[in-house]
């Protein structure tokens, strides 16, 4: 595994992986398995229903363990849909690092559609992070369409951090989280598009159980002629709390549409949404220039901070 420089670089970019990861992992490369390790508490197996992808089972009470499941595509023209199912027991606290890196130097499009389903047991906490990254100067598109479906049982929680910074030509993401009693979902989304890239993100958080909480924090930057559409929606079906916050910086001739939605079906549901789109404030650039940065450095610094 990890033969080439390209592989190493992609894996580091998307999963902060330097060498073989500690704990459980599964590395998918160009539609094949490029390394796998289960642990005593985290079992990774091929699916049994014929679809490509893996089943990940995490035993009750697994605490402090990690599971890395990066996907890399290094050949042009690879197109795949992969189904990964997570079965997480009760009283766990685990970190799952996914991510997809595409290196495309060819003429044909490369596309990865990852469908992830999480079933998270009572009182378990999952930190799920997912980075998307594309590179290579061929004409072939780098396309990623992730779908993430999460079911949170009583008292369970997920913190989901997604990042796509540069390089992905087209993305259509769909996220759905269903929260049971006292469950909590915190989703942070970071996105930067440039060139002619397009990005769309649909999100639904259903707060079904009493005292469920949902929070969406979306920050994005659209440069050049790229375009972005956000449709985060929080639905309150019980006494619950939900907050959606979308914040975007628009540059060049980009287009951003931000459509946060909140829907209440219970008088005890308390839901808030905020959305803002604006350019970088001139005063911010000037201030950083007075600290010795050039205009370009100042802009870069503001964007990095905003997307951090």
């Amino acid at each position: 595994m990890m033969e080439t420089e390209v592989d190493r670089e992609l894996l580091e970019k998307i999963a902060d992986m330097l060498g073989k990861p500690v704990g459980a992992f599964n590395i998918r490369k160009d539609c094949g398995c490029d390394g796998r390790q289960s642990t005593e508490h985290i079992k990774i197996d091929n699916r049994t229903d014929g679809k490509s992808g893996i089943d990940i089972r995490i035993l009750d009470g697994t605490v402090g363990e990690t599971c890395h499941i990066p996907v890399i595509i290094t050949k042009p023209g690879v197109q795949e849909t992969v189904y990964n199912d997570f079965y997480i027991g009760e009283n766990c606290n685990v970190e799952i690092v996914a991510g997809c890196g595409i290196h495309n130097c060819g003429e044909q499009d490369s596309r990865h559609d990852g469908v992830h389903t999480f079933r998270i047991g009572k009182n378990s906490h999952v930190h799920y992070s997912e980075k998307h990254y594309g590179e290579g100067d061929g004409k072939g598109g780098k396309i990623m369409n992730p779908q993430t479906i999460v079911y949170l049982e009583e008292g369970a929680s997920i913190q989901m951090d997604t990042v796509q910074i540069r390089g992905v030509d087209s993305t259509k993401r769909y996220t759905k989280i269903v929260c049971g009693k006292g469950a909590e979902a915190v989703v942070t989304e970071r996105l930067l598009t440039h060139g002619e890239q397009v990005a769309e993100s649909d999100m639904v958080i259903e707060l079904n159980g009493e005292d469920a909480k949902g929070r969406v924090i979306s920050r994005s930057v659209a440069q050049d002629t790229s375009s972005q559409v956000f449709r985060p929606c929080v639905v309150g079906n019980a006494k619950c709390f939900g907050h959606v916050q979308c914040d975007s910086i628009i540059m060049g001739s980009a287009k951003i549409s931000s459509v946060p939605e909140i829907a209440a079906n219970d008088t005890e549901a308390q839901l808030i949404h905020e959305a803002a789109i604006g350019k970088i404030a001139g005063e911010q650039l000037l201030k950083l220039e007075t600290l010795g940065l050039t205009e370009e450095e100042a802009e870069d610094c503001i964007l990095k901070g905003f997307l951090a």
């Binding site: 920050r219 914040d247 005063e283 911010q284 000037l286 007075t290 600290l291 050039t294 901070g305 905003f306």
Partner: protein
């Protein structure tokens, strides 16, 4: 040494030219602490911004250590050792106090200890602030003190502070004046402080009263303070006298 030669700044207001600064000439020698004071709208901030390069004068020259910097960018002036603490500092979503101080210092490895020292000097308890973002969650007074801390971190040869006292509680204000005194005593920088505070004015080697876009009066703190105090009590003799040394 900072020299302004016949600096004018005018803006177009409909068909008419509105003079904001009218033929300002002055010299500030190294390691001096000079206070600019005078009524609101007199042109103090505009003058400071012209030195920093944030505003381009309509005519006139700015010389820094003998070099004509009138045509230089903000960045270039910053790198030549000029710094300016904004009267109304901008906020930054996503930039932490620590990051901002690090940028200001120009030292990517600025230690936590050093950051803390800068914050302490403006009366902020460092541990509460280092990792906070300089965003809307901070009060005006907090943002203002962080702004001043960035100028301290920059440690440049010329430091310009624009109404540093604004929005600051008494205790922090005392801490801040001490800091100005220390810098002055150490002779490590030239300071221009735009201020209305008697306590700050009294620290000055020289006080310059700016009104209606011109220098109305220059003198020592001992000379100027009594006049300012009497102005605020009865009319505006200094300003209406209009007679300023050069």
């Amino acid at each position: 040494m900072l020299e302004l030669k016949h600096v004018c700044y005018a803006v177009q207001e409909g068909d008419a030219q509105l003079g904001i600064l009218n033929d300002i000439s002055l010299t500030i020698s190294d390691h001096k602490l000079v206070v600019f004071t005078g009524p609101n709208g007199g042109g103090k901030t505009t003058l400071a911004k012209i030195v920093m390069g944030l505003v381009q004068p309509t005519s006139g020259q700015i010389l820094w250590n003998g070099q004509d910097i009138t045509g230089l960018s903000i960045t270039e002036r910053a790198r030549l050792g000029i710094s300016y603490g904004f009267q109304q500092p901008p906020r930054f979503k996503g930039l932490t106090v620590r990051r901002l101080l690090t940028i200001a210092s120009g030292n990517d490895k600025l230690s936590k200890d050093q950051c803390c020292q800068y914050l302490t000097k403006v009366g902020l308890c460092a541990n509460d602030y280092l990792d906070r973002e300089v965003d809307a969650s901070l009060s005006g007074g907090e943002v203002k003190r962080i702004e001043i801390a960035t100028i301290l971190a920059r440690n440049s040869q010329l430091m310009i502070f624009d109404e540093p006292e604004a929005g600051i509680d008494l205790w922090s204000f005392a801490r801040l004046t001490e800091t100005f005194e220390q810098i002055h005593a150490a002779g490590s920088a030239t300071m221009i402080i735009i201020s209305h505070q008697e306590r700050i004015i009294s620290l000055a080697d020289e006080v310059i009263v700016v009104g209606d876009g011109a220098i109305r009066h220059r003198g020592s703190a001992q000379e100027i303070l009594p006049q300012i105090l009497s102005d605020t009590l009865g009319g505006c003799p200094v300003l209406s006298k209009g007679g300023a040394a050069q």
